[in-house]
């Protein structure tokens, strides 16, 4: 069976015990080893949950990450981490600063990939924060050119992608939430992602979210990946008509639950969204997932959404006779 496979975008919420432990660790009241043990426990729990509900392609849930750009930068030489910067409202993050030539200290996420993959027979995705997003979300005190900084990240992240593949990753996902920040830089993004994915045997995925998709639409087929992972339910499925007119030549991972809403979408609503998607995309090229990472939801909300999503996909497969 390869119709309507189900997956997740990347992050899951951290259980209460892990959030408390991270706070303690940040104050120096908990050792790295003790924190790691709890991160492993949470990762195992999420792997088990995904298996239990019948997810096809798994993620490690990013229980060990704070911010997605900061986590990668912390493991790259030539960067420092700044003080707190506001994202919006009362949300702040620590932004990487490029202070010297970027160099990889060693694999960044491979260890966690191996840990998660060892816990399941099902494929676990390797997850990379993309070069354009790393550049756009960092201060640059060294390169002085957005293109140079972006391509420097791309070279390192290619090494990371190769290491993930060597460790057994069958799917490598490049996260580029900053993709739609500056339309005039889309050619740079394409070039940088090309550097990252070049020569990989693994299936490659590019995830992006919350942009004006109409503006970037013409780039979808140019992105050098096998699968595009798009947030679709938050934007009201507006794009479907355009996909009808201008077909996507890749697989699509189609977001069917809104990660910014507390509401757990009922199975029937998700099923409706899947059926709408099926009017445009072939079932073997249509992957069902949430709009984005679920880390901002509670554990209960995230699990409720994922459970209904997998059930809805299963029901759709049955109804169409694809089981």
């Amino acid at each position: 069976m390869n119709e309507l496979l189900t997956t997740s975008v990347g992050s899951f919420p951290k259980p209460e015990y892990l959030s408390r432990a991270r706070t303690k660790a940040s104050k120096g009241d908990l050792s790295k080893e003790d924190l790691r043990a709890l991160e492993e426990r949470a990762t195992k729990e999420w792997i088990r949950f995904q298996e239990e509900i019948g997810m096809d392609v798994l993620v490690d849930g990013e229980q060990y990450r704070g911010d997605m750009a900061t986590y990668f930068a912390e493991n790259i030489e030539g960067t420092e981490i700044s003080g707190l910067v506001r994202s919006y409202g009362n949300r702040y993050y620590k932004k990487p600063i490029i202070v010297d030539e970027l160099r990889l200290r060693g694999p960044i996420s491979v260890d966690w990939f191996k840990f998660a993959q060892a816990k399941t027979e099902r494929p676990v995705k390797g997850m990379i924060t993309g070069p354009y997003t790393m550049m756009d979300w960092s201060f640059d005190e060294h390169y002085g050119s957005r293109a140079d900084a972006c391509l420097a990240f791309a070279k390192l992240l290619h090494q990371e992608a190769v290491a993930l593949e060597a460790a057994g990753a069958k799917v490598v996902q490049v996260d580029e939430p900053a993709l739609s920040t500056r339309f005039d830089e889309l050619p740079l993004l394409v070039k940088a992602v090309e550097v990252v994915t070049k020569g990989l045997e693994a299936k490659t995925v590019l995830h992006t979210c919350y942009g004006n998709y109409n503006e970037i639409f013409e780039y979808f087929n140019k992105l050098p990946v096998d699968q595009l992972d798009l947030e679709m339910s938050n934007s009201g499925l507006d794009l479907l008509d355009r996909f009808k007119r201008e077909p996507l030549e890749k697989e699509i991972a189609f977001g069917v639950v809104d990660v910014h809403s507390h509401v757990i979408e009922p199975e029937a609503l998700i099923r409706e969204r899947i059926e709408k998607a099926l009017t445009i995309f072939a079932p073997s090229k249509l992957i069902i997932d949430p709009d984005c990472g679920l880390k901002t939801r509670s554990v209960e909300e995230a699990q409720g959404k994922l459970r209904n999503m997998v059930e809805a996909a299963r029901a759709a497969r049955q109804a169409h006779g694809w089981t």
Binding site: S82, G83, L84, R86, N90, Y92, F139, E141, Y210
Partner: protein
Amino acid sequence: MVRTTVVGTYPRIGDRPEEQTLRRGIARLDKGEIAEADLRALEQEVVQTVLREQNDAGIDLVTDGQISWYDSQSRFAGKLASIEINGLVRYFDTNTYYRQPVVRGPVAWTEPVLLDEWKFAQSHSRAPVKAVLTGPVTLASLALDKHYRTKEALALDLATALADEVGALVRAGASHVQIDEPILTRHPEDVSLVVEALERIRSRKGKASLTLFTYFGSVAGIYTDLLDGPADVLGLDLVQGAATWSALARHGSKKPLVFGLIDARNTKEEDPAAIAKQLLSLKGSVDLNASYLSPSNGLDFLPRDRARRKLRILRDAAKKAGVGG
């Protein structure tokens, strides 16, 4: 010598626990542990700190750091009649987001929005406090309009509302008012609408000095239109909008300018001597003694410690320029 100012926002929190009272306060308000009035008191403490940091750095014309602003769009618009505030939308090409105003009917000003905050700030500052407002065309462009048929109609009604606010601020003693129109760096064709809207605001400004500030890009193509417009002072982002410099060097300016030469979106530190030299190259074509040196936009994109360092660079560059003694 050339004077110094800031553009508007200032980081609300720093990295030390004692610099994070506002962050904790908002979280506690959300949980219902403190009241709105308690949060206002915390905001006022931060405003005093922000003013002290600017005063200590010797900034000549300061702001309250826009500490109470959730974002640049919803703070003022959300208090007008017929506007609701909706979900998050990316703010220009930044990694920040604003809550989008939704216009459901004719917009109207009903009472002062920022007056008490300006009064509080001015009473705690040695330097004059500039009142800063997001301009009507930027507000109209970033809002979701469900009522007016055209952006022009919405922008002009917003201009009338802003003029009412400016009138109240000026009556209370504000001597400097700044209107921000970053949208001009993306839509230079809106310049005539900005000029028309600004005329309405100008009519209520009394003796106060009115600055028009554009940031997040170049306005080279409309530079002379802006010089001919109704603002008394023109503020320019000369970092991300470095391309404006050639127009500026070619045409000079009869109006005083605000030179946004210190990068407020990157931590990299400028050499004050190089900034001073760049500024002095305009001697003779711009009245530097009536002009200001500033960051390229609000300092909220930087961590607090880096914002402080940028203020010192600003002061040092102005001292080195030292024009006219």
